[in-house]
Symmetry: C2
Subunit: 185 residues, 2 copies
């Protein structure tokens, strides 16, 4: 049995509006959004967890590095289930590192560490958890990007208007770093 629910985010969502209800969502049927060339699928968010954590996937083709950014109060997991992701991170002392993650590999980015990533294979999928004390992050993608009912990757990349990059900063604790350089590249 597959149920759909009206929530504050979707007219028809697989995520129950009542957070006390257990639920199952089949692969791909979470709340979906497009941002650049990627498909983001939210399976659980702050409403489900008393604003403790969330759970989403990011799928995309091999592509460009996403813009460097930093979260003041949000810790982030990158767990690769398909393909390959090159994760770029700078620690709070300015030390930079990059690593290619393949399926089953795990990356952790604490708050205040600038980071970026680049998908290095087509059909890459990352599982993400991104949250800090009392707040979660999962609606960032559809706010900077756009919600979609489609299954699958965007037919055309969705490129946000420039002013939106600034407006997500307070709402989602995402500060873009347009002048950031990854050294040794």
């Amino acid at each position: 049995m597959t149920m759909e629910f009206a929530t504050r985010y979707r007219a028809a969502s697989r995520i129950p509006a009542d957070p006390s209800k257990p639920y199952v969502i089949e692969k791909g049927e979470g709340d979906r959004a497009h941002l650049f060339g990627d498909l983001i699928t939210v399976y659980a968010g702050g409403e489900q967890t008393e604003n403790t954590f969330n759970f989403f996937t990011v799928e995309g083709p091999r592509g460009d590095i996403i813009p460097a950014h930093v979260h003041a109060d949000t810790h982030e997991v990158f767990y690769v289930t398909q393909g390959a992701v090159r994760l770029f991170v700078e620690d709070t002392e300015g030390e930079q590192s990059e690593r290619v993650l393949t399926p089953g590999d795990f990356g952790f980015v604490p708050k205040n560490c600038p980071h970026a990533y680049r998908m290095e294979r087509h059909h890459t999928q990352i599982v993400g958890v991104a949250a800090g004390p009392g707040h979660t992050f999962e609606r960032f993608f559809e706010t900077l990007g756009t919600p979609t009912e489609q299954l699958g990757l965007p037919a055309e990349p969705f490129v946000p208007e420039q002013h939106k990059f600034g407006s997500v900063r307070e709402q989602f604790d995402v500060r873009f770093l347009p002048d950031h350089q990854w050294r040794d590249r």
Copy 2:
């Protein structure tokens, strides 16, 4: 470059003792424990996330249903990456359901919902996140079970002594329900 760290949990862990440090852990190299026939691998815990969330995997063979239990203050994710898992859940009104999850399928069990699961294929892997406001859950497995340095499934199932099932209740918000019945089975 692979680093090892002495932490409160392991003499040599891939998880940095300093929670401000970004890190990568290759597949299988998190903090490992055996419980019954399963291998549990912790990639991030409360120390990394200001007690907000955690991230671990549970791998096992096809086997028996694990004992029904409930968490008073912990929400739990079951995300299947390999094999198949039958998830049994009862909501707070007593309504029971069961579903088979295969790779990419997602199950969510809110606090106060009795639940259990059974791996239905060999080489099954579940990704788990289990936390509630201000507390995480990931060291439950090595406390009821046993820490291990081994890679791979236990050669013999690790069966906890009976008294330990009660002692984890307060420490990890896990209450076993030995008399619980899953109807329609």
